[in-house]
């Protein structure tokens, strides 16, 4: 078992344009661990990933990577040990799949690079797209190409290796989502640490070692899937009514329910103002 601490975040506050986006975030990630970052839109998942990716500068001593303050790492060393997949990458230029994946390894010698590219294309089931132009591919295919490019950056490198993935499967069909997450699991067992922002609660429950549930810039709950994904938590964080069942496979399954109160304009049993005026009763949406 890998138990070395890879990433440590201590009381991270982050303000952007006079708005507090992250509020006292503390979390840690060990080697070989896959942690999923959950939360509603605007909870701060992407900002946290971007802060850990170096896009937003973090205060000194709040983020430690492999025991060393993140701000002390050199750009070149970080590029070898940390790879990042942004939520959205859009490419306006006629580059082929192979050319885009090669960008992850600009300084590698050509034969070695070919070998890495081939291995990754096969792993992500896009070998048949190798010489196609990326802008002409479907959203899901492009997402797998970007993931291959991200993995190429840290492939066959010495540890520590950290992957920060922001919704890397959002455009994929269910079969490919499973396939990609199986690959991520495999990477974790090879010693990678992975922090993965996802919206699909069940995908997170199925594959992650731990879940971190965020709400309004704070960490709301953290722990193994069964302890984080409860009906109570989902109601408080997402306003989502749901039924959560523990599957025999050992992880919880979230089944969202239709909202009980129906339409937001429904005022319960009170007559609406225009009903009082006209005397006509409208049907309530339940």
């Amino acid at each position: 078992m890998h138990q070395k601490p890879l990433l440590n975040v201590n009381n991270l506050d982050l303000w952007l344009a006079k708005q507090q986006i992250l509020d006292d975030i503390s979390l840690s990630l060990t080697q070989g661990e896959l942690v999923a970052l959950l939360g509603p839109n605007g909870a701060g998942k992407s900002t946290l990933i971007r802060a850990l990716a170096g896009e937003v500068r973090v205060p000194a001593q709040t983020v430690r990577f492999d025991g060393k303050d993140m701000n002390q790492w050199s750009r070149a060393a970080l590029a070898r040990h940390r790879a990042v997949m942004p939520q959205k990458v859009d490419l306006q230029f006629p580059m082929t799949v192979e050319e885009v994946v090669a960008l992850g390894r600009p300084r590698e010698n050509p034969t070695q690079r070919r070998r890495i590219i081939r291995a990754l294309l096969a792993r992500l089931d896009i070998t048949h797209l190798e010489t196609r132009l990326v802008p002409t591919l479907s959203g899901g295919e492009q997402q797998r190409v970007q993931l291959a490019r991200v993995l190429a950056q840290v492939w066959d490198r010495p540890d520590p290796r950290l992957l920060l993935l922001d919704e890397c499967t959002s455009a994929l069909d269910p079969a490919h989502q499973q396939q990609v997450f199986q690959q991520l699991r495999q990477l974790a067992s090879e010693g990678f640490g992975l922090l993965v922002a996802v919206h699909d609660l069940n995908l997170a429950a199925q594959y992650a070692d731990r879940l971190v549930l965020m709400k309004a810039g704070k960490i709301f709950a953290e722990g193994p899937p069964a302890s984080v994904l409860t009906e109570q938590h989902l109601r408080e964080v997402y306003g989502l009514e749901s039924r959560v069942e523990l599957l025999p496979e050992g992880y919880p399954l979230v089944i969202p329910q239709r909202p009980r109160t129906g339409h937001p304009t429904d005022l319960g049993g009170q007559p609406l103002p225009w009903e009082r005026l006209t005397g006509v009763e409208y049907r309530r949406i339940v």
């Binding site: 750009r75 942004p86 230029f93 600009p106 010489t131």
Partner: protein, 345 residues
């Protein structure tokens, strides 16, 4: 169809073709014109086996050769600058004109043409023959740096803001140029009109000594930005994740374009379309990777401008058309045809 597999041109074949094109264009440029110089004459002159024909000597060394070299350098710089900015802005339609370098140079040049005898008499007295090119160079680089300053906040340059600042500065400089044009007398009007259409007709060795070094610096340093610019095609954050200093890439690209294009515009006037058409066309052949694209643009841009210059000389011989006009006449329909073909295929 777009979904077909893509095969790239092999680099040696592509470069070989471009070099052959340059060689052909050079022979054409040296030999065509009012005073005929045949290829045989050329060979004799190069081998030193010269009948003492001083006119041919003069035409070759003092007229055709500097013009050829200036054409090659200017075309190369404009095309490479176009490719640099398109990579930086992640937009295949970016052009050196976009960040204010052309409009700033034009404003300064027109100011010298119109006010050289009055308001700017001190400047013309001080700089003499260099009054116009020097002013254009300074105008071009200053406006570009201004656009850059505006887009630079809290240690970061916003590429989107740079584009918008460039548009605003272009509008302001355009208005200034318009005011001066309105103020100009007939003589000044004629020369400023010709300047804004661009020309290689007055190329001299002195122009090359003055503008050449800046242009060479741009051409030599630009390839160093090839790898980071490749990463920029996926966005500035991705370039950062891949370990490049995005701040230095932006600084470097903008400075190279300002210096190179500023120097080119200073001695040739405004020549459009090279920076747009050449990278676009060569990207189809070589792919978008800058390591092959930037040198190819230097070769292709040089060849294209020299060929356009030959046309400018022969279409209405013995008079000449401004080369900017020829470029627009050639480049406009060509670019449209390219767009239509991509749309309908």
């Amino acid at each position: 169809m777009h979904t077909e597999d893509v095969r790239r041109l092999q680099a040696p074949i592509g470069y070989g073709a471009l070099l052959a094109l340059i060689a052909g264009a050079a022979v054409l440029a040296i030999s065509s014109g009012a005073y005929p110089v045949t290829v045989a004459d050329l060979a004799r002159m190069i081998t030193g086996n010269v009948a003492n024909d001083s006119t041919a000597q003069f035409v070759l060394w003092e007229v055709r050769l500097p013009r050829l070299l200036l054409g090659l350098l200017t075309g190369a710089v404009l095309a490479v600058s176009g490719a640099l900015l398109q990579g930086l802005f992640r937009n295949p339609l970016a052009d050196p004109g976009l960040i204010g370098v052309s409009s700033g140079a034009a404003l300064a040049a027109v100011a010298v043409i119109v006010l050289g005898g009055s308001g700017l008499a001190g400047w013309t007295a001080l700089t003499g023959r260099w009054a116009l090119p020097l002013a254009a160079f300074i105008g071009g680089t200053v406006t570009t740096l201004l656009a850059w300053r505006i887009a630079h906040r809290q240690g970061q340059t916003s590429v989107a803001l740079l584009l918008l600042a460039g548009i605003a500065i272009n509008a302001i400089a355009g208005a200034g140029t318009g005011l001066l044009t309105y103020h100009a007398d007939d003589n000044a009007l004629r020369s400023l009109t010709f300047w804004t259409m661009g020309s290689l007709a007055h190329a001299q060795w002195q122009d090359l000594w003055m503008a050449g070094p800046w242009m060479l610096v741009t051409l030599i340093i630009a390839p160093l930005l090839a790898r980071p610019l490749d990463a920029f095609l996926l966005g500035e954050p991705v370039a950062g994740h891949l370990g490049y200093s995005t701040a230095w890439v932006k600084r470097g690209a903008i400075l190279l374009v300002a210096l190179g294009v500023g120097a080119a515009v200073a001695v040739t006037g405004l020549i459009g379309f090279v920076g747009l058409v050449v990278p676009h066309l060569l990207r189809q052949l070589f792919g978008a990777g800058h390591r092959l694209l930037l040198p190819a643009c230097a070769l292709g841009g040089g060849a294209l401008l020299v060929i356009a210059d030959c046309l400018a000389r022969v279409i209405v011989a013995p008079a000449e058309l401004p080369i900017g006009l020829v470029m627009a006449l050639l480049g406009g329909p060509f670019f449209l045809a390219l767009l239509m073909r991509n749309r309908f295929s």
